[in-house]
Symmetry: C2
Subunit: 292 residues, 2 copies
């Protein structure tokens, strides 16, 4: 147990809620703010009236808002988080935002003598509840070290490099997730059409080279046809678009990612954007109607 510290926690939704919970349970003094105040109140922590109020006097502010533009506005805008934070305090942005946005937030923080870390996560609601998130951090080494006591209750933090590189790693993560979902969808479909029980095929593949978190979690969803999100396909599409636009700016052609992005475009166009991203298998079924 670390010494209790004052944390402002902005955004207590599906992911932020259980993350704030873990920091409260670790004994920290957490003041939360959420757009829907009831979600913040449900945590039983001190509820702040505004993001700035949550940030005022806090040693550390953690931001976990789902929307990038909202996140940027609340941090940099008038009466925003940065204006309220004391000098030498620490801002940890765990939302997934563009690499460039993280870099300009880091510069704005630095001008106010505030330390900045971008630290997006992977692992979903389950990982947030269990404190097993993959945490991809960008920022200088000293800032990362200082953030560790606040990150370790949430999962496994790894420093990638300077500010922005946590977001780059997250984009890479999202590309892998999207392409692996497409891969597992095709696999389940081939098993099914070939006359084998996809549940047994999935079971048999576990432990071999084809094993993956996606095969375990999303493969099971495909078998059970359980497409309640989780991670909605429209968010997945936003991520693959951002990743491809990053690749494009680097003059990098990624053929599989480009194709997978198109599959998610088609899925959303066809009206399935609110379903879990594992419902990509429905798009592949649509392309391959059963004869008769």
């Amino acid at each position: 147990m670390h010494e209790p510290r004052t944390i402002g926690f902005i955004g207590t939704g599906i992911m932020g809620g259980p993350m704030a919970r873990r920091l409260i349970d670790a004994g920290h003094d957490v003041r939360v703010w959420n757009r829907t105040a009831a979600k913040a109140a449900a945590l039983g922590a001190v509820s702040a009236q505004s993001p700035a109020a949550a940030a005022t006097g806090a040693e550390v502010v953690i931001v976990m808002l789902s929307s990038g533009p909202v996140c940027d506005e609340l941090i940099l805008g008038e009466r925003g988080v940065l204006d309220a934070m004391p000098p030498d305090s620490l801002l940890i942005v765990m939302s997934s935002i563009p690499v460039e946005t993280a870099r300009h937030q880091a510069r704005a923080a630095s001008e106010r003598h505030i330390h900045y870390l971008d630290a997006p996560v992977s692992g979903g609601e389950r990982g947030a509840i269990d404190g097993t998130l993959a945490i991809m951090a960008g920022g200088d080494e000293a800032t990362f070290e200082r953030a560790l006591p606040f990150l370790e209750p949430l999962g496994r933090p790894v420093r990638i490099g300077p500010a922005g590189s946590g977001q780059l790693a997250k984009l890479v993560n999202q590309l892998v997730v999207a392409s692996t979902i497409a891969t597992v969808s095709e696999a389940m479909l081939l098993a099914e059409r070939g006359g084998a029980d996809p549940a047994r095929v999935r079971e048999a593949l576990l432990g071999g080279f084809a094993d993956s978190t996606i095969l375990r979690a999303h493969g099971q969803r495909m078998i059970e046809q359980d497409f309640a999100p989780g991670g909605p396909a429209k968010w997945q599409l936003k991520d693959t678009r951002t990743a491809l636009s990053m690749a494009d700016s680097l003059d990098l052609e990624l053929p599989v990612a480009t194709l997978v992005n198109q599959l998610f475009e088609d899925m959303v166009t066809n009206g399935d954007g609110e379903l879990d991203h594992s419902a990509l298998i429905l798009e592949l079924r649509r392309r391959n109607p059963l004869p008769g």
Copy 2:
């Protein structure tokens, strides 16, 4: 420990060698045959002069030859394995062969009152040595039960369905492996070109949704540029071709698999077919030369 049984083991190469070793260590009476006799002799087991000699009088014959046509010839040909096996004995074919080949071998076995199981594996040399292979079995339930004492020392057997369905599951497995290698290759390339250390990105992704055996094993190979096979790309290409031809016969279009198969075609055409399949990242680098 089960009661010792007489096993004929045909094919003691990279995979078959350590598998036969585990059966010997489990106390069974194993008679081995290999084309290159020295590999069989190195196991310290009884070396048979021919496949038929290894099979004669054996309660169980296990075949683990790397080539499908050779496997078929040694099983069905004149003075082959089936002709030498006593009635009511058990033939377990662990080679990866086409679904149709497995089905006709099962029919030929049945005509001779021999029980047949196709049981291809995934997990590589490491899995063979450690006895942690994913084993995908096709055959009737009673045959599967009877084969369990011989499969359990080798890994985790799962019965998929009737004869041939183990091979179908293996094709599915190989498609997932190929597409995941392409996915991880693109991920490592995006990290690298985006200015992040791919080793740290890989490390950060472990435990999140992007985690996979391929990220762990083949991602590490890509980082270390260690492309000694392992699984040569030319074998991977053979597998993706077979899987796509199976999909084609089912009127099933698998867009990601089709693209990934083409990437492996290009890789082999460009002379890298003998390298490990993880060297697919070289093909993606070739498509994306660094400026200047």
